[in-house]
Structure formats: structure tokens, C-alpha cells
Symmetry: C2
Subunit: 189 residues, 2 copies
């Protein structure tokens, strides 16, 4: 019997995938399960775009890198200098070699959007394990703002990408990163 | 054998609890497990305060309600008018009758803090189930800003509360709210 803790422990961020497509039906099942995640006032604000095409993912990676580097050059964002160098490498694909990408999207008017989408992302990352899939939340892939690209992805006006989640069959399961003990600031009892 | 999906399905937001304390050791186990949650660049920025005392929780509820109503009166925040009326009720405890509260806290300098804390919250909510516990993320309890209270909770300068999670033994498990099908905006394959 697999316990919940074993499942939580078995989740890894996966950045190296088998050359094997993820059937759309499986992605849809994962998204169906992530609707079980809680959301503020049960608002269920998350929307999704599924990109099951490596060429499109490559173009999205290029656009996201270019926009982020542009923000960085204009001091609109901070960026670890090591990351900036990596992003300038034309061969670097922020989505690695993943076969599939899910964008979690929502309305800018929803105050709890970041939390709601992160909870849905958590459910996606756990549901994927059950199906032998691996995932990684790739924030670097969220800098999409060209109107044509947003239209291609079906992103409605007034909405934004919160979480880009890559998904695929892992080549191998890496060791877990070391976790420090929980930082408990105070216990009041 | 309990599958992950069954576990995800069994999670509910719990707002009515047995009059039974949660042993601190159990809370610490849950927090230990939530360190397994992913975080941006493996930054592991979450910190925790545990309030295992109903009187202190009552005082925190009163302060949070007062601050939120003050923000609302000064047009610093929007609030569902129905909520505003409920908050004005002196008998209303935003933490319901829960015996225990975990504040998830982090530095304002961490750009990914809301996502990181929401992922930790998700792990807490799932780990709790394994131990027969129920939880609810109570955003209304996060409006703590009096310096004395922040000191009492051990909140360091430059840090903020992201997620107040109540935790306890459920009186009953309510039915799940109805979920709509995942809103899939586009499939590109």
C-alpha cells in the first residue's frame, strides 16, 4: 500500500524526459483531478492551455526568454546573473526536452489567483505521479505577452499566465534535494 | 489500497471541529512533511508559527477582523458586502472553533513567496488527512500587523503572513462542493 507520505516523497521536479508523447486524454484526466484543489471562496478561477507540440513550446521558450531579458535590461526585474547568461544561450530551451506544457491561467481581477493556481499546480504535480509522469513548474516560461501569442494560446483579455507546468515521462527520477527542517518561529500553546 | 486520487478527493475544507486538541508532535510531523513541497529554485523560504491555544486564536481573529474592516472603511481593499456584515459580528471567529492554527510566513523579498507558501499549504492540507485531521485556509485571519502581535508570533522584520491554516479533528466530513469541468482554453498539438 502506497501511503500519502510516500507519494509526497516521490514527487520530484523533472527536467529530463523520455522522447515519448503524453496522450491528450491523460493530460485531460490530470486537469480533471486538479479541479479538486481548494480555491478561495470556492471560486475555481483556473483555466488551462495545453501545448502538446515541441515546436510551439520552442517558440514559446524563445519569446519568454527574450521578454525576460528585455525586462532585465530595462531594470524592470531582477535576475540572478547566472540565469541571465543561461537565458542568452540560443540553444537553451526553458522547457527542457519536455513533450508537453500546461499553462495555468486566470483573471487579473481575482485577488487570490496566485494561490488558487499554485494549489491547482500542486494537484497537477501529484496527479501526474499516479500516471508515471513527471512535472516541473517553469516560471521562466511565463513571460508571454505578444498579442498574437496570447491569442494562439487562447488567453482571454484581462487574464495572465500564473504557472507553466511541463509534463512528460521522466528519463530518470533524480535524488531529492536536501530539505532543511521546518523553520518554526514560535509555538504558542 | 488508497490511491492518490482517492486522497485528493477526500480533502475538504473543514470549518467545524471536535473539541479535541491537536498534539504538537502531530503538527510538527505535518510541517516536516510539507518541507517536501517544491519551491522556486529550491529556495525553501517558508517559515511557520503554530498557535495551539484557542484564546490566542480568538485574539488574532479579533485583530484580523478589525484591521480588515478598517482597510475596507478606508477603501484600501474590496470586500464582499456580505462578508463585511459577518466580520462586524463580534461573536464571529474567523478561525471557527478550530483548536490549532498554523501561519505560513516568509520574507517579502522572495518574489515567489505566494506560490511557495501555497505549495507548502497544499502539502499541509494533504498530510493532515493522513492523520485524520481537517484543515481550512482562512485568508480572513491574515490581517495581523500590530507590532506586539507580530513579535508574539515570532514574525521577523520584513516578513509577512501568507497563509493561515486552521487544523483539527473534523466533527464531520462535509460533501464536496460541485466542481466544474476544467476550463481548457486551447489545445495545441
Amino acid at each position: 500500500m502506497v501511503t500519502l507520505v510516500e507519494l509526497l516523497k516521490s514527487r520530484r521536479s523533472i527536467r529530463d524526459f523520455q522522447d515519448k508523447a503524453v496522450p491528450l486524454k491523460i493530460v485531460e484526466e490530470v486537469l480533471q483531478e486538479c479541479t479538486l484543489a481548494p480555491s478561495a471562496s470556492d471560486g475555481q478561477p483556473c483555466m488551462f492551455s495545453i501545448i502538446n507540440c515541441k515546436n510551439t513550446m520552442r517558440a514559446l521558450s524563445d519569446e519568454s526568454k527574450a521578454n525576460l531579458l528585455d525586462d532585465f535590461a530595462k531594470n524592470k526585474t531582477t535576475l540572478n546573473p547566472a540565469y541571465a547568461e543561461v537565458l542568452k544561450d540560443k540553444n537553451f530551451n526553458v522547457f527542457y526536452n519536455a513533450p508537453c506544457l500546461i499553462y495555468i491561467i486566470g483573471s487579473k481581477n481575482v485577488g487570490s489567483l496566485d494561490w488558487d493556481c499554485a494549489l491547482a499546480a500542486c494537484y497537477i504535480m501529484l496527479s501526474a505521479i499516479e500516471r508515471g509522469l513527471g512535472t516541473c513548474w517553469v516560471h521562466l516560461g511565463s513571460y508571454i505577452r505578444n498579442p498574437q501569442t496570447k491569442a494562439l494560446l487562447g488567453i482571454p483579455d484581462g487574464c495572465r499566465i500564473v504557472a507553466p507546468i511541463i509534463i512528460g515521462y521522466p528519463k530518470e527520477i533524480p535524488a531529492a534535494s536536501e530539505r532543511h527542517a521546518p523553520k518554526i518561529l514560535k509555538v504558542i500553546s
